[in-house]
């Protein structure tokens, strides 16, 4: 039997993902015991899995280097890859929003030239160009995006919001919600066909775990 390969996101999704896999009966002891290995194998169920940066998970799955991936919807939207998105795993829930200073509330349209600071240029562009039909200037940042409107780098930001506390403490408000975000199970388009039985068993198993 071929190995099925699963790509997991390094970071806040890791522990929850591994727990779920264990509940499905996949042996993750190699991961639990060894910290230096890059690929972990469960010989019994012929499954391999590895951890990569979240933004890389869709790439591995699109090329078929991994058959299955667990990754946040934010990453999927930003990467825009050809994948099957088969299951909402529910955890790591948050929202992708447009935020800005309180005085902009309800006046987003009146702003002529918008500079948008974000870690997610593609999502921001997609939202402003297709939903709002506006041209914008994207300013790509790599962290602390909330700072940008405070120091005049941008008018608004597009970012993930979990509780909204950071925004509030910096005097920013949510101007619009772009999408609800949570962890998703994605599958390579070819693997879904060539290994449909085993992959469907995993999907069904996960569905039950998540409902239970």
């Amino acid at each position: 039997m071929r190995y099925l390969t699963i790509a997991l996101s390094k970071g806040r999704l890791t522990d929850l993902s591994v727990e779920l896999l264990e509940k499905l009966g996949i042996d993750c002891s190699e991961y639990r015991n060894e910290s230096r290995k890059l690929i972990f194998t469960d010989e019994k169920s012929r499954i391999k899995f590895f951890l990569v940066k979240p933004a890389d998970v869709p790439t591995y799955v699109e090329y078929g280097a991994a058959d299955i991936g667990i990754v946040g919807k934010d990453t999927l939207l930003e990467e825009g890859r050809h994948l099957y998105e088969v299951l909402n795993m529910g955890f790591a829930a948050c929202r992708m929003v447009v935020a800005g200073p309180a005085e902009l509330a309800g006046k987003l349209d009146s702003l002529n030239n918008k500079r948008v600071a974000t870690k997610y240029p593609r999502i921001a562009r997609e939202y402003f160009e297709h939903k709002r039909r506006e041209s914008i200037e994207i300013i790509k940042l790599n962290g602390s995006v909330e700072l940008a409107p405070l120091v005049g780098l941008s008018e608004v930001i597009v970012d993930l919001v979990e509780s909204g506390r950071t925004l509030k403490e910096n005097g920013l408000v949510i101007l619009d919600t772009i999408a609800d975000i949570s962890a998703r199970l994605v599958v390579n388009r070819v693997s879904m066909k060539m290994e449909s039985e085993r992959i469907n068993a995993i999907i069904e198993g996960l569905k039950q775990q998540l409902q239970g």
Binding site: R2, V61, E62, Y63, G64, A65, H82, L83, Y84, E85, V86, L87, N88, R184, V187, N188, R189, V190, S191, M192, K193, M194, S196
Partner: protein
């Protein structure tokens, strides 16, 4: 100024000795197969007018095409596919031909960011088109040729999924959704995005039974049972006809004895914008991209001035080679049988001997570096050449076998009789 001269641009590749040999031999097998099925090959220009690919039916996103201008300022493109040029040819140059017209091609196409090409910007497509006929037999023939092409390439485990875009179109007609919403549902189903699909359906006013069917559509793939599963729902004629069409095609493929290679996917929708009926995709292990795509396109030829139903497929030659390599399937490799070397007076004899051996079908190199026997053997070993033939005199040669290190002396007349 010459900063880039030692590099190749993104998404293109040099194809070197072994790969090139494998590619040519695969292309040869495909060409022979297509010919034996009665297809006639055409070669279309690499450069076409942008307008050819910008028509309503064949529209390809303009950002995916390589564009430039001719001297009159008209927009040109490097052809992003060969199906559309074949449609142009059929409508303009084979208008009066006896239908069906069977056309095949093998050529390079150029696209930015292409998924179908395995993310390469230049790749080779081989394919066939059957024009002027819309019978299920013609759909089945094209699928059968596609399967035979995969078999001829040496692949053993692969699968071809068949869908029918009219099934989905019938469903959408029944729901009365706007064109924009339909496009969204199409993308959601094609991405098997259950989450987004359910969100969408919850927001829209559609009959409950249809909602149930549409929300399950991404999972409607597998054996023929899928068709029955869909038929259990209340469908309009358009959708029903589409299912019946798939069934007919599957039955014909059974007659070809190729039933084991095909399965059904009612949730396969995207394909190309000009699809009008049966569509299909081929998959194998080792490459995460489809290795072939095809389908019916009854409206496309009409864009060029003659209404004419048509169907066809193209397969990605580079991707099949990648799959063969990853699946460790042996392919023909370039090899040289002998190196003929000589000293002084032997040149004429050596040239004559080379010609004779080549006539017998051997691959023979003539030493042009004036090597000694030792140098020649070293070179032969490095190049994996089977043996060195050293001219001794007009009638005699010395054969040095590289692997066994054996040396024998024979008459040329005897050598040629072997």
């Amino acid at each position: 100024m010459s900063k880039w001269k030692i590099y190749t641009p993104d998404g293109v590749q040099d194809i070197l000795f072994e790969d090139c040999c494998m590619k040519r031999s695969l292309e040869q097998k495909l060409r022979a197969l297509f010919r034996s099925c009665g297809f006639n090959e055409v070669e279309t220009p690499s450069i076409e007018f942008y307008d050819v690919f910008a028509s309503d039916e064949g529209a390809m996103p303009q950002e995916d095409m390589f564009k430039f201008f001719d001297q009159q300022g008209r927009i040109l493109v490097l052809r992003p596919d060969i199906t559309v040029p074949v449609a142009r040819i059929t409508a303009t140059k084979y208008r009066e031909a006896a239908y069906p017209v069977r056309i095949s091609y093998i050529g390079n196409v150029y696209r930015y960011n292409d998924y179908g090409g395995g993310k390469q910007n230049e790749f080779t497509q081989a394919g066939v088109e059957v024009l002027g006929i819309s019978t299920p037999e013609s759909d089945a023939e094209v699928i059968a040729v596609a399967i035979q092409a995969l078999k001829a390439s040496g692949l053993e485990s692969f699968q071809v999924d068949i869908g029918q875009v009219e099934f989905f179109n019938g469903l959408m007609e029944e729901t009365g959704l706007s064109e924009k919403d339909t496009a969204q549902v199409r993308t959601l189903i094609d991405h098997k995005d259950y989450v987004g699909l359910d969100e969408f359906l919850n927001r829209s006013e559609i009959r409950d039974d249809l909602k149930k069917l549409i929300s399950g559509l991404p999972g409607f793939f597998g054996s023929v049972d899928v068709i029955e599963k869909a038929e259990a729902f209340e469908l309009n004629k358009r959708s029903r006809d589409a299912l019946e069409n798939i069934r007919q095609v599957l039955n014909i493929l059974e007659d070809y004895g190729l039933g084991q290679y095909v399965s059904v996917d009612l949730g396969m929708l995207r394909g190309l914008s000009y699809d009008t009926g049966i569509i299909f995709r081929g998959f194998t292990y080792g490459v995460g991209f489809p290795i072939l795509t095809g389908g019916r396109y009854d409206k496309l030829v009409g864009e060029f001035g003659k209404e004419c139903p048509a169907t066809g497929f193209s397969l990605g030659v580079n991707m099949i080679l990648m799959a063969l390599q990853r699946q460790k399937i042996e392919m023909e490799k370039p090899g040289t049988d002998s190196l003929v070397c000589y000293a002084g007076q032997g040149r004429k004899t050596a040239i004559g001997l080379c010609a004779e051996l080549r006539n017998q079908g051997l691959v023979v190199e003539l030493d042009i570096a004036g090597s000694t026997a030792e140098e020649a053997k070293k070179y032969a070993a490095a190049k994996n050449i089977g043996g060195v033939i050293r001219i001794v005199d007009e009638d005699t040669v010395e054969i040095h076998y590289i692997q066994s290190e054996e040396v024998i002396r024979v008459k040329i007349s005897e050598l040629l009789k072997r």
